[in-house]
């Protein structure tokens, strides 16, 4: 199935939860969906006979600028039918939260933890959301565009690199 058809399928099924279809400016045609509905949509994509998106290739957070919203990108593939779809959700900067899909695709478990670690996006319903790459007591979320590098970590000076 092409991405266009999948988009049509999804918007039939989920109505206004499926916001738009982006083909311009990306090599992986993307369906933008609602952050709260992502779990339902991914479940549908996984379970539907004609779609069978059983594998989550990648889950990445993204922060375009200091003022824009955060986004989370899901790259899904069907190992059986060999088709692809990319999903994207936007979430507000002040209170970033996205529904967790860790119980649907176990891949998402660590990837969501990583995204939480680096962007501070709260994945609701994640079984064990905690930092994964950074230290447990690290302050701030390093990949946010407005992140200011800490000067000290546990009394140790962090060297500034130009």
């Amino acid at each position: 199935m092409t991405e266009q058809e999948i988009y049509a399928n999804l918007s039939r099924k989920f109505g206004d939860k499926v916001i738009e279809f982006m083909e311009e400016g990306t090599h992986n045609p993307t369906v933008v969906v609602d952050a709260g509905a992502i779990a339902k949509i991914v479940t549908y994509l996984k379970d539907d006979e004609k779609l069978q998106f059983d594998s989550l290739m990648n889950l990445a957070g993204h922060d375009a600028d200091v003022e824009t919203e955060f986004s989370v990108i899901y790259h899904l593939v069907s190992t059986e039918l060999k088709h692809y779809i990319t999903l994207k959700v936007f979430t507000s900067r002040d209170e970033p939260k996205v529904a967790s899909i860790a119980n649907i695709h176990r891949t998402a478990d660590w990837h969501e933890r990583e995204t939480f670690d680096l962007y501070g996006i709260n994945f609701e319903g994640h079984p064990d959301l905690k930092r994964i790459l950074m230290e447990d007591d690290w302050e701030g979320y390093p990949l946010r565009k407005d992140y200011v590098p800490a000067e000290f970590y546990r009394g140790m000076r962090i060297e500034k690199v130009k």
Partner: protein, 373 residues
């Protein structure tokens, strides 16, 4: 008779432990020798690759990618270069494509040699490890001839290669290939068919295809479960569609499909397949061609984003790159194969003994450099 349950003990395996293949910590909950829960703790090798990448120009990122998966640096460089090239729409000279494939496959052999050897080490066989390193040295010699480095090459640049190969390289590569099949037979003799080795690896840590796909396990570990997915075959990138090679799958020759032995043996077979690809690529290698002709003067991919995946020795290596038209990427995420491969350890390692957990970890073939990035 029921099993006697005693108090559970938490055992910290790592960060300093000989069999964690780097700086990994596994929190094991053990009941006697039986492990009831495994919690991997990662991040000890975190070097902020993605944060660095957001502050570096595209061409400056290449050496950083190699440092992520230090056992297969060419694989990382190749994937990154291809992702950026696809964004910019660069057409490569034939010779560059062939040389890249040759090096990528040599790197696959070298990486699998380490995987196979260290797996032997994990179950207590020391000698095969040294044999594997003997061949790896010869491959590293070839890399040294071409790039001047033995581990981290910075050889594949965006749009080309750092240097053309020196004269005599092709002959030496052929020489290596001629001896290689015999050497693989030697490993099979000393390790693969060993009764104790089979006892230790077969039926241990069986990973069903459903579990493997659900956890995002890729590469040889996935194919050992019988899932026929090799990105070189299913969506050929570079020039992989021109070569004739098989995709070895786990067949459960000594036990169940998807056990540790299968994961080991798929790697052994893949080495032979890689050698086959290299031989074909060397046969077809165009004599003429400037490897630097397609390197762009300014690397500024047009505004947009891409998720590009390629087959690393450890599995699917994906780069998610967002460009805003400047010479510095807005976002670069590396989807590292070992990251997902490691996450499955609790699922398949539960209920086995401590020794088995080490064997299972070894059969997954992780590199902490790319897990922690």
């Amino acid at each position: 008779m029921g099993r006697l349950h005693a108090e559970e003990m938490v055992l910290n395996m790592g960060p300093q432990h000989p069999s964690t293949h780097g700086v990994l910590r596994l929190k094991l909950r053990t009941d006697g020798e039986i492990v009831s829960h495994i919690e991997p703790v990662i991040g000890y090798l975190h070097r902020s690759f993605e944060k660095h990448a957001e502050n570096l120009e595209y061409q400056m990122i290449t050496p950083f990618t190699g440092r992520c998966d230090y056992l297969a640096a060419i694989g990382s460089e190749h994937g990154y270069a291809m992702a950026v090239e696809k964004m910019m729409g660069i057409e490569l000279p034939e010779r560059v494509e062939y040389l890249r494939v040759i090096f990528a496959e040599f790197q696959r052999i070298a990486s699998h040699l380490v995987a196979v050897g260290t797996f032997g080490l994990d179950v207590g066989a020391i000698t095969p490890f040294i044999y594997c390193f003997r061949e790896r040295e010869l491959i590293l010699d070839l890399f040294e001839m071409a790039s001047g480095a033995r581990l981290l090459y910075n050889y594949i640049w965006i749009g080309g290669l750092a240097h053309d190969v020196p004269p005599g390289f092709v002959e030496k590569a052929y020489e290596f290939l001629d001896a290689f099949d015999e050497r693989v037979a030697e490993y099979n003799q000393i390790l693969t068919g060993n009764k104790i080795f089979i006892e230790r690896a077969a039926d241990i840590g069986v990973m069903t295809p459903e579990v493997a796909i659900n956890y995002g396990v890729t590469g040889p570990s996935l194919r050992a479960s019988g899932v026929n997915i090799d990105i070189r075959r299913t969506e050929p990138y570079s020039i992989y569609d021109r070569f004739d090679f098989d995709v070895p799958l786990g067949q459960g020759l000594q036990g169940t499909i998807g056990d540790s032995w299968d994961r080991y043996y798929v790697r052994v077979l893949e080495m032979n397949e890689s050698a086959k690809i290299i031989r074909q690529a060397l046969d077809q290698l165009p004599v003429e061609g400037d490897v630097k002709s397609a390197i762009p003067r300014r690397i500024r991919p047009p505004k947009g984003e891409i998720y590009f995946r390629s087959e690393n020795p450890r599995g699917e290596l994906g780069y998610y790159i967002v460009s805003n038209g400047k010479n510095v990427p807005l976002r670069l995420k590396m989807r590292s194969p070992a990251f997902s491969n490691l996450s499955v350890i609790n699922e398949i390692g539960q209920g086995w003994m401590i020794s088995d957990v080490i064997a299972i970890l070894g059969s997954l073939d992780i590199v902490l450099g790319e897990i922690d990035r």
